[in-house]
Each structure stands twice: as C-alpha cells, then as structure tokens.
C-alpha cells in the first residue's frame, strides 16, 4: 500500500467534520473560533496533499493565503469579541440571541 492523496483527503474530511461538530455543539465563542480555524486547517491538508501528488506549487500557495486570511479573520473575530465583552461580560454564544424571530 502506498499513500496517495486519497488518504490525506479522508483525514482532511474527518478533521473538517470534527471542526464542524465543534461549531455546532460548543457555546464558548473562543472554542467556536478554534473550530472554524480547524476546519480551514483540514482543508489546507487536502490542498497540500493535492499539490504534492499533482506536483504543483499552486496548492501550497493557496495554503499560505489561507493562513493569511485565518490570521486576519481571527484578529477581527477577537476584536468583535472584545467589544462585545465590554458591553456584557460573556463568551457564551447562546447569550447572543437578542436578534431573532
């Protein structure tokens, strides 16, 4: 048996699903953020694997950009969280439900 992108892809799908479950079941905003990051990372794994078995640099470059995006995203998310926390000290996503209906 030799490894191929299939195996990495399956691993990536599993990690993606775990990250997804985290977003769905956790209520702590930090953990939700982390789970979104994990989902992005799971995809990165696929990209790197594809790039490796296609023998291209493109996939790796997209991963670099995703990292940049992730960094910017986390910064923005945490900034919003800090501002929210100032109004009401909570990190429970379920308490952010004033808007509904």
């Amino acid at each position: 048996m030799t490894l191929s992108s299939l195996h990495y892809f399956i691993l990536s799908a599993i990690l993606f699903a775990i990250g997804g479950i985290g977003v769905l079941v956790r209520r702590n905003v930090f953990v939700i953020f982390m789970c979104v990051e994990m989902m992005l990372n799971a995809v990165n794994l696929s990209l790197i694997a594809f790039a490796r078995y296609l023998n291209q640099a493109d996939g790796q470059l997209l991963v670099l950009f995703v990292m940049a995006i992730a960094a910017a995203e986390v910064v923005v998310g945490l900034a919003i969280l800090v501002a929210l926390h100032r109004k009401r000290p909570t990190t429970d996503a379920d308490e952010m439900n004033v808007l509904r209906g």
């Binding site: 997804g20 977003v23 769905l24 079941v25 956790r26 209520r27 939700i32 996503a93 379920d94 952010m96 439900n97 004033v98 808007l99 509904r100 209906g101």
Partner: protein, 638 residues
C-alpha cells in the same frame, strides 16, 4: 385629435401631480375644480376622438408613444389603440368620472383629506384610461394594477374606521388572487404568441394552429383576472365591503368603471375567447349564476349601499352572460348604460346619506319623496332604467342580452336571467318605496335637518338621469325600428364574426320570437315593480286609506291584501330564504372562509419559520450543514 390621443391620458396625471405636490396651496375648492377640470378636458378629448373616429373608414387606429422595453425578442411598445370599443369606453369612463368629480366637490366638502381624495380620484382616472386605451396587454396590466391600487387606497380612505381599513385589505387580497390568474394568462399568451401586443396576438390567434387547450387555458386564466376585478363568483366578496369607501368612489370605481374592466378585457380579447367554446361557456355560466345569486342577496339587505353593491355584482353578471354567449357588443352596451344608471343610483344614495347625516339603513328612512325631490326623481329614473322599464336605457341593453342568450340556445341561462330581471325590478323598487314612500321612520333629531343636496351634487345627478333615459337609444333593436347602431359601430372592433354571433344573426330573422321575448321581459320587469309596490307600499298604508275613502272597494282591496299575503308566502319569503341562505351560509363561511383560510395558512407557515429563527448561531450553522448534506446527496444521486 387622434394624434394627440395621449393628452386624454395626460390630463388626469397632471391633475394628480399638481394636487399631490401643490394641492395644499390651492385650497379645497381650487383642488376640486382643478381635478374636475382635468377630467373634463379628458372627456372633451375622448369625445373628440370618438367623433373623429366616426368619420374614418378604417376605425382601428394605433398611436405609438414610446418604447417601454425593447431587448431581443422581448418588445413592449407603449401604444394607444383607438378603435370603436376603446373609444366608447373612454367616453363613458371620462364622462362618468367628470360628473362624479363635480359631485364629489360637494359631497366631500367637509372632509379634511379633500385634496388627497381628488389626487387619488385623478390617479384612478389615469389608470383606468391607460387600461382602456392600451394596445399592449402588458400596459393594460399596468392600468389594471393601477386601478386596483387606487381602489384599495380609496376604499380605505376613511381608515379611522376599522371596517374601512379591513375592507381595503380584503379588496386588495381578493383582487390579487384574480391578478395571479391574469398574470399567468399573460405569460402563457406571451409564450404562445411571442407578443403581448393586442393586434399581433389577435392576428396570430387567427393564423397559428394552437395546441388544443391552450386557447382555453389562456382564456380561462384571463377570465380569472376578470372575475376578481369584476367581482364575480367566487371572488365577489370584496365588492360589498368596498362600500365602506366614500360614496362617489362606490359610484365611480365600484359601479361604473373599474369593476367593468373585466368585461372590457374579455371583449378586448374576444378572439381568444371565441377560439374556446369551453371558456365562453364558463364565462356565460359564471355570469348568469352570479347575476341570479347576487340579486337574491340584494333582496335581503337593509344597507342602502350594500343592496346597490349586490345589484352591481348582479348586473356585471349580466354583462358576462352577454359576452359569454358571444354577444360582445350587447355586453358592452349594457356596460355603458349600466355605468350611467348605477352611478346615478349611488349618487342618489349618497345624496340620501347627505340628507340623513350618513344614515344607510333603509329601515330608518321613508317618506323622503317630497323632502329631497331632485334626489327622488333622479333615483326613480335610475331605478326604472335598471328595472328595465320600456324606453329607458336598461331596457334596451338588458333585453339585448336576454335575446342573444336565448338566440344562442342557452335557454336555461336565459330563464335564470329573466328571473333575475324580475328580481332586479323588485329589489330596486323595494329601495325606492321604502326610502321615498310611506311614513318617515327617520330619527327625530335627523328628520329636522333633512335637506336637498347642493346644486354641485344635484346637477351631475340630473345629467346622469338624462343619460339613463337616452343612452339606450344608441342600441334600439331592429324590430323596434332602430338600427342597433352601437352593435354595428362596435363591429369595427368586435367584428370577427364568431360562430355564436353568426347564429344570433340568423336567429334575428324570427321576429315573432323576438317580440314575444321582448314583451315577456317587459312583463317580468313590470311584475317586479308591481310586486314591490304591493308589498312595500300598499300593504302598509293603502288598505286603511282606501277602506275609508272608497268604502265599496274595500272588500276588493281587502282581497288584494290576501293576494299580497299569498305573494309574500309563496314568492317573496322563499326568495328571501334563498337569499338569506346565500348571504349567511355561502357568502360568509364558505367563500370568505376559503380566502381567509389560505391567508391564515400562509401566516401560520410564516410563524413556523420564525420559530426556527432562534437567534442562536449554532442553529443557523446546523441549517447550513443540512443544506450541505442535501446538496451533496443530490450530486451523488444525480
């Protein structure tokens, strides 16, 4: 003038703009006069157009205004179509509107939203004339929606009253149901003919071999729209409630013009209807049944305007019966005469309300004959006209429809229509007699102030009365020595001789039958009036008076009274029972119920969806995941 036909449309629009933006600087009188003058100018233009058209050989004239949409295959040109049909409608619409505008200056004099009222009214005239004069059905649809909007705004004009606001909403909802049909019909038409231009569609309809059922589908969908706008079964429910609007609105929109748009539309697209006997049968049947059904309900109502509203529904049924049997000209003829006398009846009702401080219950009226003589006489003329009294407008037009129905072989519908004619005479004279005759049952306080309406109101009524008398003479049938001028004139638009019309033409030969039917309908009308007289006048005061003064005749009168009892028991009471049944069991729970049920169901689903909107982000994420799984499954299964 034909080259400037757009002016007819523009005048009311100018009125809207001026009144909407500068109305408050004009003052009440100024705003009213301006609005009326604009419609008056429109009327002059319409008459001018009509006269010019008379002088032409080929009486179908189109005048392009501008390209509305023009991309690829999709082409909509805003174009006016001036032909005998639209010119007659334009004259009727602008004429009646003009008179009612003037009447409104007096009627609405004390309303604080006077200026807005006239802006709406002008907007309505603009939309209605657009509907009438449009060459492209999409533009017709614009007018169609426009009149609906104005109707909605004007029914709810006195929105402080909950009933008025509710009525506006109801009218809107029910009309939208019809509009869906109309829009779908237009779409199907576009797919079938590749155009919505009236002339192209009608030409194509003659040439293209349609798939079976397509013509029927288009015609029936258009008819659904007509049923909504013209208040036929089962979408008539909004019209009685629409009486919550100011009375001039009832007269103009909900009697004379807008509600006849459905009839006009069927006549306008008659070629399509002619292609589908099934659709025509539906039109005739719905028309006939509605005519009878609404007339029975009219028997039982105590609200003056509601009786007139049901009467309008019934008369619209007549018109549909006419167009449904292929007698398009007869339908339009009745539309024309009806516009005059029904508008007059409403204006009369308005005048009565004016005199009685807004009272509408006919049980609290009576004996007004001498107190408001002008109103009485004009109302009487209109009543005679609608009842089909020989020589008045309604007589000729109604008789033409009856005759054409009979000649068309729809004997059952004819019998129903004849019966309805009798009922019509009966219920309308029930109004005349209870309102204007007998003892005054008016409140003491109100009675002291009963007064005739001002000239600004009575003069328009007098004009309408005049038309109610003479309008019929444009369509005197051959056997009465006339040339049935209107029918020949309308041939210019409606002259695609359809089989039905041809049958009617040949059947004309048997003059004997026609005479017989004519006399029969006169008898029925007179019987209706007579019965009403007996029931609502004689039974109450005649017996005692006659007994005193004439003595010897007393027994005779007494016996007559017995006959009245008999009439009451055998004819009137069962009829009333039927009417009551319709009014209470069918009208309310069933028809309203279905409409409201659908609305409630939609609202319920909406509330269900709102429950899903929990405000929790993770629930929303779950929604995304559900969608992802479903889409992925679709991709894998496909």
């Amino acid at each position: 003038m034909l080259n400037y036909a757009w002016l007819v449309l523009i005048f009311p629009l100018v009125g809207v703009i001026i009144n909407a933006f500068f109305g408050r600087y004009l003052g009440k009188r100024g705003a009213g006069i301006l609005a009326s003058a604009m419609v008056g100018l429109s009327f002059i233009g319409a008459v001018w157009m009509f006269a010019e058209l008379l002088g032409l050989e080929d009486r179908v004239v189109t005048r392009p205004l501008f390209d509305w949409i023009s991309v690829g295959d999709f082409n909509v040109q805003v174009k006016l179509l001036i032909d005998p049909l639209s010119s007659v409608m334009a004259v009727v619409v602008s004429g009646v509107s003009f008179l009612i505008h003037i009447y409104s200056i007096g009627y609405m004099a004390h309303d604080e939203r006077f200026v807005r009222f006239f802006a709406y009214l002008n907007l309505f005239v603009f939309a209605m004339l657009t509907l009438v004069l449009a060459e492209n059905l999409l533009v017709t649809y614009v007018g169609w929606e426009g009149v609906g909007l104005c109707s909605y705004l004007l029914i709810g004009f006195w929105f402080e009253r909950k009933a008025a606001a509710d009525a506006g909403k109801k009218a809107f909802l029910v009309n939208r149901v019809g509009d869906v049909g109309f829009a779908l019909g237009l779409m199907l038409m576009f797919v079938t003919f590749g155009s919505l231009s009236m002339s192209q569609v009608l030409e194509q309809a003659m040439v293209v071999r349609l798939m079976p059922g397509v013509a029927t589908a288009i015609a029936l969908l258009l008819f659904v729209g007509a049923v909504g706008k013209s208040a036929q079964i089962p979408l008539y429910v909004w019209l009685p409630d629409a009486m919550e609007g100011p009375t001039p609105v009832s007269a103009l929109i909900h009697a004379a013009t807008m509600v006849t748009a459905g009839v006009y539309m069927v006549a306008r697209t008659h070629t399509l209807f002619a292609l589908s006997p099934t659709a025509l049968t539906w039109v005739a049947a719905i028309g006939g049944i509605t005519a009878f059904f609404a007339a029975t309900i009219a028997l039982t109502q105590h609200d003056l305007k509601r009786v007139l509203a049901y009467s309008t529904i019934s008369q619209l049924g007549y018109m549909f019966l006419g167009v449904g049997v292929g007698a398009y000209a007869a339908g339009i003829f009745h539309l024309t005469t009806h516009a005059f006398f029904k508008a007059l009846l409403f204006l009369g009702a308005g005048s009565v309300m004016h005199a009685l401080a807004g009272e509408l219950d006919i049980r609290k009226m009576g004996g007004l004959r001498n107190k408001i003589p002008v109103t009485f006489w004009t109302f009487l003329i209109a009543a005679l006209a609608i009842a089909g009294f020989p020589g008045l407008a309604g007589f000729f037009s109604k008789d033409e429809i009856l005759w054409q129905t009979f000649a068309n072989g729809k004997t059952l519908l004819w019998a129903l229509a004849l019966l309805t004619a009798g009922l019509t005479a009966f219920y309308i004279f029930r109004l005349v007699f209870t309102v204007f005759y007998g003892e005054s049952r008016v409140d003491k306080k109100v009675a002291a102030h009963v007064h005739e309406s001002p000239k600004v109101m009575t003069v328009p009524m007098a004009f309408l009365a005049l038309f109610s008398v003479i309008a019929g003479y444009i369509g005197v049938p051959k056997i009465l020595g006339g040339g049935n001028w209107i029918e020949h004139y309308l041939d210019g638009s409606l002259g695609w001789h359809t089989p039905e019309a041809a049958i009617a033409e040949t059947a004309h030969a048997s003059a004997g039958t026609e005479w017989a039917l004519l006399i029969l309908s006169v008898i029925v009308a007179l019987a209706g009036i007579g019965l009403a007289y007996v029931v609502y006048v004689r039974r109450t005061d005649l017996p005692t008076r006659v007994a005193k003064s004439l003595g010897g005749l007393y027994t005779f009168v007494y016996n007559k009274y017995k006959v009245d009892e008999f009439y009451m028991a055998v004819i009137v009471k069962p009829l009333r029972a039927v009417g009551k049944f319709f009014a209470e069991s069918v009208d309310g729970p069933v028809v309203d119920g279905i409409a409201e049920g659908i609305a409630a169901l939609v609202a319920l689903i909406g509330r269900g969806l709102q429950v899903l909107q929990t405000g929790l982000a993770r629930n929303y994420a779950l929604g995304i995941l559900v969608g992802a799984v479903l889409l992925l499954a679709y991709a894998l299964v496909r």
